[in-house]
Structures are given as C-alpha cells and as structure tokens.
Symmetry: C2
Subunit: 192 residues, 2 copies
C-alpha cells in the first residue's frame, strides 16, 4: 500500500497506525474521515480553535477525536445520527466554519470507494488494501467542501445543578423533570 505523504500533521503511515490502535482496525471510513479532517482544518485556518460536528455515528467521530482536540467527552464534538458522511469544523465564537463531505457524485472515478460508499458490493468482495490504496490515491478528489454558518441548535448545555432522582436514587440533572431521563425513558437493562 502506498501511504507516503502527510495526513493530519503526521506521516500518513503513522496516522493509519493511530487509527488502527484506537478504532480497532484501519477502517476505510476513519481513513477517509482523516482526509476530511485534514482538509477542513486547512480551510478553516490555523488560528481558529474549532469545534466539530459529525453527521453520522459511523467511523467519522473517531477521525475527529483522533486528529482534532474535539472529543465526545469534552463536548467539543457533537455527533448526529443522520447517516450523512459529513463533518463541520467551526469557530466556537463566531460560528463560521466549513463543512466537508464525501461526495457520492465524485466517487465514480474511484470504483473501490464508490462501491464501498454506496454498498454496491458485499464487504468480502472489497479487499481492504485495494480500498485504502484508492482512498490515498483519491485524496480530496472525492470530497466537497463549502463554508457554513452554524446555528445554536446543537450547543451542549452546561451542567448547572445536580439533584438526586427519587426513582433510582442516583445523581441527575433536575432539568430532566421530576425523575432522571433513565427513569423517564425506561432502562436499557434489568438488574441481573
């Protein structure tokens, strides 16, 4: 595989290793995600401290978490379950930023990426090495980018007060209501 060059400020081969270590494998979605982060970072400029939004839970959040200071736990990354392979980096002060997405129309020149992205072939018919080579060959040619202005919709609220939920006895955010969201929503577990 030809992984010469620089990706997200380190040798591309090292970026691949970091992806494999964190994500469990050098998954194509995270590798393309790294190319997207790399471009978005360049477009927004080095002077901007950027927050991030990922429009899918699949793969992309890991590229953001590895190659920007934004993580889910520190609140600088917000993740939407919209299943669009797109991310936005934006200035948290003036909320101007750039959205980068994997552009289905542009993938047609790269059959491996096209078939993978649009699920035209079963997974076993697409060898990982072929796909990764195609991703490194394509680089930004399969992406689109455009400036955006982010609205306040996704801002995470600050934790203000803490109460004890009368349902489960655990600490919770009283803005949820009389009970915590776990008790309100019904649990994902039963005690075993």
């Amino acid at each position: 595989m030809d992984v010469a060059g620089v990706l997200c400020g380190r040798p591309a081969a090292r970026a691949l290793e970091e992806i494999a270590r964190f994500h469990g494998a050098p998954a194509p979605g995270v590798v393309i995600g790294a190319v997207m982060v790399d471009w978005a970072r360049e477009l927004i400029g080095p002077e901007v401290e950027a927050d991030a939004i990922a429009e899918t839970e699949r793969c992309l959040p890991d590229a953001v978490q590895l190659f920007t200071p934004c993580t889910l736990g520190n609140g600088w990354l917000r993740v939407l379950d919209w299943d669009r392979f797109a991310l936005t980096l934006y200035d948290r002060f003036d909320r101007r930023g750039v959205r980068v997405w994997l552009d289905a129309g542009k993938t047609s020149g790269y059959p491996a990426i096209h078939d993978w992205f649009l699920k035209r072939l079963p997974k076993h018919a697409l060898p990982l090495d072929t796909l990764l080579n195609s991703i490194f060959e394509a680089g930004r040619a399969v992406l689109s980018a455009r400036p955006v202005h982010v609205n306040a919709l996704l801002r995470r609220s600050k934790k203000e007060a803490v109460g004890i939920c009368p349902g489960c006895g655990e600490a919770f955010d009283p803005r949820a209501g009389d009970l915590c969201k776990g008790c309100l929503n019904g649990g994902y577990f039963t005690w075993g």
Copy 2:
C-alpha cells in the same frame, strides 16, 4: 499528587497523561471514569469481549474510549444523554454485564468529590490537584456496581443500503424515509 499504583493496566501516572492528551486536560470526570472502567473490566472478567454503554455524554465516554476497545465510531460504545454518571460493560453475545456508577451517597466521606459531583462549590473553589488526590485516595470506595442484563434497545443497526437524498443530493440511509434525517430535521447550519 500521589498517583502511585496501576489504573486500567498501566501506571496511573501514564493513564493521567493519556487522559490529558486525548481529553485536553486531566478532567476529574474522566479520571473517575477510568477507575469505573477499571473496576467494571475486572468484574466482567478477562475472557469477555465487552461492549459499553455510557449514561452521560460528559467526560465518561472518553474514559471508555481510552481504556477499552470501544469507541463511538466503531459502534461498541453507545452513549445516552441521561446525565447519570454510570457505565455498563456487557458481553455482546449473552448481554450479561455489570453496571458501575459514581454513588452520590458514598461520596460524603470525600468532601472534594462530593462538592464537585453535586456542584456544591463553584469550579474555582475546587483546586484540580485536591480533587484528583481525593479521587486516587477514594478509588472504588465512591462507586457502586451491580450485575445487569442488557436488552436490545440500544443495538446499532447495520448499514444496509445507501440512497441519494433528493433534498440535499447526498448519500443517506433510505430507512430514514423519503429524505435524509438532515433534510427531515432541519439543519444545524446555513451555507455561508
């Protein structure tokens, strides 16, 4: 600060460094999260390949992502916005696992943790070193753990087919409906 000992299979001081590098700072919530992961991992046993659930978006997901193979992007970690400081590690095959939570009742013997967790003092009145010392001193004494059986509620669906959204022209999961979730929900941005 006394950070002797072992945490999540590495020297505690190294775990702290990893937290600071990934999260941006050795935030108390991620450090307690590491102690929770450490205990949950021990309780579930080394032979179990575990999936993870975090019941808050704040801090805790980063401890899971750093100290288990589960990340948001690989789908082995699911994150709920319930604002409960609790996590579950469970066997993805029989869905039996263990839930560990920071137990408000048990924090009373550790004033720094108590005041931080229940927001009894403003942030500037709680020096980070004092808080981290208290966390290392307390260890598992401020946590509770109990076996659970996880239901199928949170299982992430596999991507099956990909369509092109007639609204935005981007690739999407057609199970969303006639349009992608971005077009259906209204966007978080305007083109700039």
